[in-house]
Homo-oligomer: 929 residues x 2
């Protein structure tokens, strides 16, 4: 064994400790003094760093020590072995801990018991393993019984330990075909024999007998007796927790959250304190503010005479935290002091775990609390108001994606009232994940994935969720559980995912095997529709129509009187957006083709249109006929006649858009899709079209056959159409400039058209199209007696365009990156066909993320950089933007900032997200300068 | 007017004159002294430069002067005006000419007559205009009559002049609806009136009257009298000849031959000499060697008492040149002396034009003679034998494409001419697969196999071909398609198979169901005979007899006795190839999938296989069933069972290939096309398959629907299949290595497999596939007890692969550029669909050439360069090759040499071409070093 020593490790140690010395492997902590602090999350994990920090703050934390993430990385890379020196360091830390606690491993009178806990840099709740009550054996269990005066408690702790250790360390799981592991089955058998329903009804002797049964199970399954030596137990547990970094669900979670596989987890070994020692003990979790709404109120829940796992598992429904004041007043006062101190200290909302042992409060964990989008925005803005953080910090605190929640629809109150009148409110649970969701119920996570893949909205119904359910939860619109509280697994994960969640709806009787649930007299089967109100906890039978959220209501609501004050959500939202706009350096435009879309986007803060797809207009009932006539025409003369009919229609479209955009720049792309997209494909429709057009069906069919393509994505489309049929480009140009002149005259406000040629692959294509455009524009200006300033540019959406951008820029006043097509051609992947393999590719880490969602910097991004550099070399002031889907993705927006683009453009509903993401990108680039 | 002065012009002048001075605009020449020489083709055109050179050699050339190509460029760019100084220069040159000839423009006693001729840098025979006999008017015609003592001759010259001038300069053409121009009609009318058949039967008076009629035509059509002033005539002619640079046929010719539009033509004004002055005069053309066969014999034809145009027009049949010895012995002797001198001087076969005026020989032109591929090879090799040129020069003298002719079966030229006379040329498509093929047409591939099995020569006629047609194509002598371009599926496969192919014959209307096609008014049924000339694209009704070429006869002929000496064509071919191999630095491999293709390629000099497409094997009758079973299987287990059946079949394929390649490297690509390509699409076939497989039709149909893709080119194919179904890659790998081991054991000669993963876009894909390959290989080696050295590499055929080649090279021992797909994705153009716009793109000069035929250096080529640079940075010794169609294209091969590739790979029949092209590229790169 040698000491772990990687470049990364050294670098990290340097940052963490401020020196270049090899960092230690083990970090002790005890009240008032700790080897680490909160800055050392990379090395100690979030849990370890915060335990150390709380110790340094003098808070009541059970002492212990943390083994660093470096050891995990080493462990991974060396087949599960430990680095040299670790054993000694752990022994030392353990000796220190024994001294601190005045307890010793295996000491029959004062036995030291510890928990062995995982904890990565970022919270991965429930994904990795933990072992509690470690140190118990036949001798120490008696000591614990004596010391606590509670033999039932001691034997309960012991049986829990054997079960947990058996599962986590020894790998004893349910057999194939069995629903439960053998420990669970032995417990059930005992309960049955003793005629009781719950484990709390078993007495000390029962539990002692159960431990014996458990140990026999261990011997049978592993061929070895259960380890008696606490040190052997400890090393087994440490190895198992490190190994759990690479269990299936942890890997899945990391993929979902883009967490690198080489970060590793730390392991914290902490002296046990017991919330289940009797009626004056208890345990709970709390948030310094409401994690659902962001309201400033202490919020949480607790259970007396319970261990932490009982709260999270949701087996018993906990009490609201306020009631603690009555049941344990001293602990309540201490908790109040501590929660205020911690929020002030960390300058953010905290998520706390605590245990009360015999009336005394211990802090087991604190971390920045997960929150909904609503809460994220409100807390960030409130903290600025309270002068805890700066505006810039507030901007960085909110995940841009979280803004989505503020824009999502809520149930229409009138409709909900109707449902209520109709007796469709089935039950009410805890409002654990706000929002409104309607869908078909399923009872198994795999089923959720299957059904969702078919495009059906799904709600997952579970007794309680577990980390293994993650992908099923991801696939669902909302989650409904029968058990568990506001901080149960389901609630926590749902909020993080931005999913609607109603938790702990205790009236539900779920039969997973039969895929059925009962609520009172209602029986619902898989596939039935229900609706969940995650903001009230209501569960409603059938579909309930939704209506716009508060933010949407304020932005677009027509009925709202001007005087009515907007609610707190809108207020926080608008403040944050204002700050974002002050900070960001890139413009934010929208992709919109219709006046109403334009108005939505402008209300969301769009500063112009980055992509107006003219073909979308063509599909309208009134136009498709003329379009088809144009396509079916023989020769340019006939085509020109058909185009003449389209001209006024298209001009009217542009007028509407120019008016809606009120002088803001409008980037219009000339016709892009292959012509066959405009022709019908079903026999019935072909027949109808033939009648309407007064041509033979065969004529239309032969035209369709003639236009058919093997790979339409790479076919006769984009500027290739404009080159083949210049009259199309000329008609569109004429419509555009006539519209601009008309609007300028009528409104007195000059539109700013930016005309964009798609799918250019060579400078010459643009040159030819540009000549047509400029000629038509001049002609229009002359006729109208007015000049409209305009830009003429091109999409960069083919690798060759990027590679020859220097030449293309000679004819282009701007580039707009069409990263959808650029990604398709760079990867050689058709988005329409990628569904068959992209999920597997993400699973196998071939793609770190879907390249159509998140810009691939090494490939697509490199081409963009080439195009930016060479475009600027030719035309230093060339305007650069992006109008692919990536324009609304925060990570891609950050890359656009790096490239120095002038603007990003995205769909209307992503404009707020883009504004915030652009602000964050600007802040980051400022810092890196 | 200012002096023309472009950077290009100055540069060229610098090179031509050795000084930086502005070159003169006009260059005089007369026997023994000329302002120019043969090095000045860019400025003087080929004709002007060679006239000057012949003067410098002291040869009898009529004096004159050449106006440079610079003037043409100026003229083009300035709306048909002339640069300052030109008028004066021409006046001076004219004065000099008058003095030299002792004749003057308009002089009634000694009238100077001139011809005004075009002449570009490279010969563009007949594309531009010429005016003869200029200087004649009512006065000088009498002088010419007196001086020649032949009034008929003088008036004949005059009427020819007015007609030619009227056509070329004054633009008097046939009226709409008329077959002939008015001059021609007037001549015919006169002949009719006079009751004679030929113009030679008209006497001087007739011709005088005809001139009057002609002049009236000019007055009627132009509103102006025919110009009497010779100088006015001259300037008109000069302008017209310059303008003819941009006539339609010249532009078309330039496109076809990749001649830049800004080269321009020179104009030579040459004193007239007359071959039609009487029986001691004459005119002729000759070659210093036979331009068809290359045989060393003076070759040509002449006509006594005629002007040059009479020889070309074919109204009178000329006599073989040897007869000149009798009819004009002095001129013959002089011509013999001159032709030998010129070939020696130019060190190449010359094409000569001469005129004999009253027994005296004048040289009107000499240039390097055009020749067939046969002649090109033979002449180059003979000149080396004769110690006129070096081997290297010989290599550079032969256009690699010309070698094609030496390999293809040939039509008997007399037979083709007969077919043409009989109106049997049906249509013309793209010459996609060179050679000559005759056979009975069929419209379905199965039918081709059936009919061919009966020993009937078959031509397969398809709308377009698909991979399913392979066996039908293999069974056919040639392929004719209505759609698709030079690189369509049909063209590609045909060339690889060495089949004749005419593609994209758009006039064909094919009705596959009725087994019938229509071309114009011709209707052909299955079984009718046609002939395809794959070198010209002609489709001919009926049989035209063919025979194998001499080279093929020697390389593959079975009947040839070993002792029979190969003919001169083979001898020249093999010498040239030997020299090419000595010079070239790049290897030449072949793309071949079957043992017989391999043997052909090896005979042509292939040094290995650069691309063995495993899927082509799958389409064979014996395998397609197992392949389909594999595709239709549910889950990996069933799939593995189906693959097990394929394993021995594929192994046998590989064994055959390894044996045929006899230890040469064999690059095998794992399965590439999307699986749906292997499934049937017609109802009948689906039904049949369902029966064979014992599954329901619906099962097959649903699988087909499930596998259908919008853009198969960008879909689930290449390594994406290998990632989704690792068992396929593993089966292929196993088959490959088991075959290699077996062949090594059986033959004692170790095969050198190079396994290649297709369509890689990320390093990780290759990493995953490579892991499978290496594991299977080790397993096979262990079982077989023998190790086969092998390489593992990847195609670079996606932009992203090129852009991340540095990472990919960590897992790749070689890169093979798949430039077909790389071009498709770089341009975003599907080869299958490009037919609709690529021709127009080439026409409009958007593409200088079809990028699928000739590597696009700015786009595709730039990606290749990035990949080479970054691949080498990671792995300095990485092996680099190309296996796209471009690997057989000389211009692309030159670029591969620039990139420093290790080898090119092309279809078997292009191997000789690639060898020569690689030699030329090596010579050029040596020079540029």
């Amino acid at each position: 064994m040698t000491t772990p020593k990687t470049a990364r490790a050294t670098g990290r140690a340097g940052r963490a400790s401020g020196s270049k010395k090899q960092p230690p492997l083990v970090f002790s902590f005890a009240r008032g003094k700790a080897d680490g602090d909160r800055s050392m999350k990379d090395l100690l994990g979030g849990k370890g760093a915060n335990l150390a920090e709380m110790c340094n703050l003098g808070l009541p934390v059970p002492p212990g020590f943390t083994i660093s993430t470096e050891v995990c990385t080493w462990f991974d890379r060396h087949g599960g072995s430990f680095p040299r020196g670790l054993r000694k360091s752990v022994e030392d830390a353990l000796a220190k801990l024994e001294k601190e606690m005045d307890q010793r491993f295996g000491d029959p009178d004062a036995p030291l018991l510890v928990s062995v806990r995982s904890g990565a840099r970022v919270s991965m709740p429930g994904m990795m393993d933990t072992v509690l009550n470690l140190g118990l054996n036949e001798t120490t269990v008696e000591g614990l019984a004596r010391r606590s005066g509670n033999p039932r408690f001691a034997w309960d702790a012991y049986r829990r330990f054997v079960q947990m250790y058996g599962d986590v360390v020894l790998g004893i799981k349910a057999d194939d075909g069995e629903d439960f592991d053998p420990f669970h089955r032995a417990l059930s058998a005992l309960q049955k024999r003793r005629g009781v329903k719950r484990d709390t009804d078993l007495d000390a002797d029962d539990l002692r007998a159960l431990v014996a049964t458990y140990k026999k199970i261990v011997l049978d399954r592993t061929g070895k007796p259960f380890p008696e030596d606490p040190k052997e137990q400890l090393w087994g547990a440490i190895a198992a927790v490190f190994a759990s970094w690479n269990n299936e669900r942890a890997i899945a979670y990391r993929h979902m959250n883009h967490i690198p596989g080489d970060w590793g987890t730390a392991v914290s070994v902490v002296a046990m304190v017991f919330g289940n020692m009797g009626p004056t003990s208890g345990t709970g979790v709390a948030f310094t503010r409401d994690p659902a709404t962001g309201e400033k109120r202490f919020y949480g829940e607790y259970l007396m005479n319970a261990q932490g796992e009982d709260v999270v598992a949701g087996i018993r429904t906990p009490a609201p935290i306020e009631e603690l004041e009555e049941s344990s007043p001293a602990a309540w006062r201490e908790l109040q002091r501590i929660q205020k101190l911690l929020e002030r200290h960390y300058r953010d909302m905290q998520d706390l775990e605590f245990t009360i042992q015999d009336g005394k409060l211990y802090m087991l964990q604190c971390r920045v609390g997960k929150r909904t989008g609503f809460a994220a925005v409100r807390i960030a803005v409130d903290l600025v108001k309270e002068r805890r953080i700066t505006k810039r910090e507030a901007l960085e605190r909110v995940d841009p994606e979280a803004l989505n929640q503020l824009l999502q629809p809520v149930f229409d109150p009138a409709e909900k009232e109707r449902a209520s009148r109709e007796g469709r409110i089935l039950t009410r649970g805890l409002p654990a994940g706000p929002g409104a969701a309607t869908g078909r119920i399923v009872f198994r996570p795999e089923r959720a994935v299957e059904v969702a893949e078919r495009g059906v909205p799904v709600l997952l119904v579970r007794e309680e969720t577990s980390p293994e359910d993650i992908s099923g939860m991801q696939a669902s619109r909302g989650i409904l559980t029968a058990r568990g509280g506001m901080t149960s697994h389901a609630a926590l994960v749902a909020r993080q995912m931005g999913k609607v969640c109603v938790a702990g709806a205790g009236e539900l009787v779920i039969d997973t095997k039969k895929a059925r649930m009962r609520v009172g007299e209602h029986v619902l089967e898989e596939g039935d529709w229900i609706s969940l109100d995650g903001s009230t906890g209501e569960v409603i039978a059938g579909e309930v129509p939704t209506r716009p959220s508060e933010v949407i209501e304020v932005l677009f609501g027509k009925k709202r009187s001007k005087k009515q004050a907007p609610g707190p959500v809108y207020e926080a939202y608008s403040k944050l957006m204002k700050w974002a706009d002050e900070v960001r350096t890139m413009g934010v435009r929208t992709n919109a083709d219709q006046p109403d879309q334009c108005r939505v986007a402008v209300a969301f803060g769009a500063e112009g249109i980055g992509l107006c797809r003219t073909e979308h207009m063509f599909f309208e009932e009134s136009k498709i006929e003329a379009v088809r006539e144009m396509i079916l025409s023989d020769g340019p003369e006939e085509r020109r006649r058909a185009l003449k009919k389209l001209l006024p229609l298209q001009r009217r479209d542009f007028e509407g858009i120019f008016k809606a955009m009120d002088g803001r720049p409008v980037t219009v792309r000339t016709l892009d899709p292959p012509l066959h997209e405009f022709l019908p494909h079903e026999e019935r429709e072909i027949k109808k079209l033939a009648q309407e057009m007064g041509v033979s069906r065969r004529h239309i069919e032969s035209k369709i056959a003639q236009l058919a393509e093997s790979n339409p994505m790479l076919g006769h489309r984009g500027c290739r159409l404009g080159i083949s049929y210049p009259e199309i480009t000329r008609m569109q140009t004429r419509a555009l400039f006539e519209a601009a002149c008309n609007v300028a005259k009528r409104t007195g406000k000059t539109p700013h058209p930016e005309l964009m040629i798609p799918l250019v692959g060579t400078a010459r294509e643009l040159e030819l199209q540009a000549a047509d455009v400029r000629e038509v524009a001049e002609n229009v200006f002359e006729k109208k007696g007015i000049r409209i300033p305009y830009l003429l540019g091109t999409m960069i959406e083919l690798p060759r365009a990027a590679l020859t951008a220097g030449e293309i820029a000679e004819h282009a006043e701007f580039f707009s990156f069409g990263t959808n097509d650029l990604t398709q051609t760079t990867f050689g992947i058709s988005r329409d066909d990628a569904g068959t393999f992209i999920p597997a590719y993400i699973q196998q880490e071939i793609f770190p993320a879907d390249p159509f969602a998140k810009l691939d910097r090494a490939g697509t991004g490199r081409l963009m950089r080439i195009a930016c550099d060479e475009g600027r070399a030719t035309r230093p002031k060339i305007k650069l933007g992006i109008c692919g889907e990536h324009g609304g993705d925060p990570s891609s927006i950050e890359f656009c900032q790096e490239l120095g683009l002038d603007y990003v453009s995205c769909s209307p509903y992503r404009v707020p997200i883009a504004r915030l993401a652009a602000a964050q990108a600007a802040l980051r680039s400022e810092r890196s300068d």
